[in-house]
């Protein structure tokens, strides 16, 4: 299965992956609105402990613990085989957060319910937005 490979030696902590991710998952698809107005949460997170830095996101586990822990089937595998959240049913109980072995699910909001936010590997694109935006091949899209 093709996944985003994290090549930490190439990362320069530029955060362009996060900007691209926020834009891709925004209503407007506009960089400025996505980042400054819509307050979209990035599905990938750039972290730094100099000289190390890397952008981390969901590894789309085969036996994904988050799917087992979900109380109402919101967390599921889509037709591509990637782990995604149904935003219309998620209630934000954070049981997926409790079991995610990579710590890559964020706590978002959706009207009156909490909403688990995680990488969906950009279903509308052939190459995920973060990979395309990375200037340095610190993120690449390949078989893992």
């Amino acid at each position: 299965m093709k996944l985003v490979k994290i090549n930490e030696d190439n990362c320069v902590y530029c955060h362009l992956c996060e900007v691209a991710c926020k834009t891709e998952h925004s209503e407007s698809k506009d960089i400025i609105k996505a980042v400054k107005k819509e307050n979209v949460l990035s599905r990938c997170t750039a972290e730094l402990n100099y000289p190390y830095s890397a952008s981390i996101m969901c590894r789309h586990c085969d036996d994904a613990p988050c799917i087992f822990a979900c109380q109402n089937g919101s967390m599921h595998k889509d037709e591509r085989g990637y782990v995604v959240v149904n935003p219309n049913t998620c209630v934000g109980c954070w049981m997926c957060v409790m079991v995610c072995p990579y710590g890559v699910i964020k706590q978002g909001k959706n009207d009156m319910w909490g909403l688990s936010i995680k990488c969906d590997l950009c279903p509308d694109r052939s190459i995920p937005a973060c990979v395309e935006a990375c200037p340095n091949e610190a993120l690449t899209f390949e078989e893992l």
């Binding site: 930490e8 972290e47 087992f68 822990a69 954070w94 049981m95 997926c96």
Partner: protein, 418 residues
């Protein structure tokens, strides 16, 4: 091959799913004494106060076409009276005998009704572990101005907060010295207690209910301390006990149904979920751990073994995630210890606590900064040696950056399964 699954909730559904993934032809029959498709039990308090309805998909565990799509037969409203594991038959409440080749018992657990409380049969006494109990409480809600909730566990605490939120006068009575006793330590529980009080809940600790008074309907609750509380209703949430009354003597019961590491209870008979007594890898004992994530996992593994795909279950441990007001926490394993290495960090509303024995993580509490909780869950489950990284645990920004490179790359490249 005919598979029969007793129980139509999380464990049963996952068992059925695992079987269907490996046996497309076999007959799979799910029996339940309830009348609905599998629903989300953790949402029952929200349903009681009207935050979610049965017309919303989020209330259900699987979509409405799930049974048909997977070719599951389902028998609703049928209680299993007895099973005969020698002749491989089940007797249902309407005296039907059903034969099976493989049986999966996923009958769950029901609310404990404490026998030492007198007056428990009065009207207005509620429990809340299934939709039947929740419906009774919901329908009675307009007649309730004040309610006494007995037991400050997960259900009691959440329901106390939710009922207070919609304007009911709530008194929460707990036998232990703190709320959420096994899930939180003193300090963590205090943070939740403050949220409850802020919402208007009266919390009474170190006390228990001995008597319920009223003519037909409960009107007064008497505590062991002799304190009397007037009320219109009472919710009993002192814990759950496995539903094992129907099993025969071939099946060993020790708190729950005793299973081996393939979830097998007897020849061609498996048990999983809240009814099963499983290996607790933190406490090193066998016991039922009635939580949803484990029910799902156990159910799936029981299903795999039932259809011949041998898979081992390594065991589980207690874990909880709740939000009360502005305080959210996740806890795992044990929450206090006098004999182990304990690391603690408190700042503003954040609280982090780690318990380490023989260089292995056996307990975690995270309050108000929980997003990395699963990384610690993984360490507990794998018995990971934390001696070289534990110093970083107390950092609020704990993450992959604190691991050494070789390990980090292996994990993130999915070369180490987890």
């Amino acid at each position: 091959m005919k598979y029969v699954i007793i129980g139509n909730s999380v464990a049963g559904i996952n068992a059925a799913t695992a079987i269907r993934q490996n046996d497309t032809q076999g007959e799979i029959l799910i029996i339940s004494d309830e009348q609905t498709r599998c629903y989300s039990r953790p949402l029952l308090p929200n349903w009681v106060i009207g935050e979610v309805s049965l017309s919303e998909e989020r209330m259900f565990y699987r979509r409405s076409d799930f049974y048909e799509k997977n070719n599951f037969k389902i028998l609703l409203g049928q209680k299993v009276d007895s099973i005969d594991t020698k002749n491989k038959t089940i007797m249902s409440s309407n005296s039907h005998t059903i034969e099976y080749d493989k049986l999966v018992i996923a009958s769950g657990a029901n609310a404990i009704l404490p026998k030492n409380i007198s007056g428990i049969d009065l009207d207005g006494v509620h429990t809340l572990t299934n939709i039947k109990g929740a419906k009774k409480l919901k329908e009675n809600l307009d007649n309730i101005d004040s309610i006494v909730i007995v037991g400050a566990g997960l259900i009691g605490t959440k329901m106390a907060y939710d009922l207070s939120k919609i304007g009911k006068k709530v008194v929460l009575v707990e036998l232990a010295k703190r709320v959420l006793f096994p899930a939180l330590d003193d300090y963590g529980a205090l943070l939740i207690e403050q949220e409850l009080k802020k919402a208007g809940v009266e919390v009474i600790l170190n006390d228990s209910v001995v008597q319920l008074n009223g003519d037909k309907k409960v009107k007064e609750v008497v505590l062991a301390s002799n304190k009397k509380i007037q009320c219109d209703a009472c919710l009993l949430s002192v814990g759950v006990a496995p539903n094992t009354s129907f099993v025969d003597s071939n099946i060993l019961i020790d708190k729950g149904i005793v299973v081996d590491d393939t979830m097998k209870a007897y020849d061609d008979c498996y048990a999983c979920g809240d009814v099963a007594s499983i290996y607790d890898i933190v406490l090193n004992i066998k016991r039922p751990i009635p939580i949803l994530p484990l029910a799902a996992k156990e159910g799936f593994i029981a299903g795999l073994n039932a259809c011949g795909v041998e898979t081992k279950f390594k065991g589980g441990f207690a874990m909880n995630s709740i939000e009360i007001g502005n305080t959210g926490f996740i806890s795992m394993g044990i929450v206090e210890s006098d004999n182990d290495c304990v690391l603690e960090f408190k700042k503003d509303s954040e609280y982090r606590k780690f318990i380490i024995r023989d260089n292995k993580l056996i307990g975690v509490i995270l309050v108000n900064n929980v997003e990395k909780a699963g990384m610690f869950n993984w360490m507990i489950e794998k018995g990971f040696d934390v001696s070289w990284i534990k110093d970083a645990f107390l950092n609020s920004d704990f993450g992959w950056k604190y691991f050494d490179k070789a390990f980090r790359v292996l994990r993130l490249d999915r070369k180490l399964k987890g």
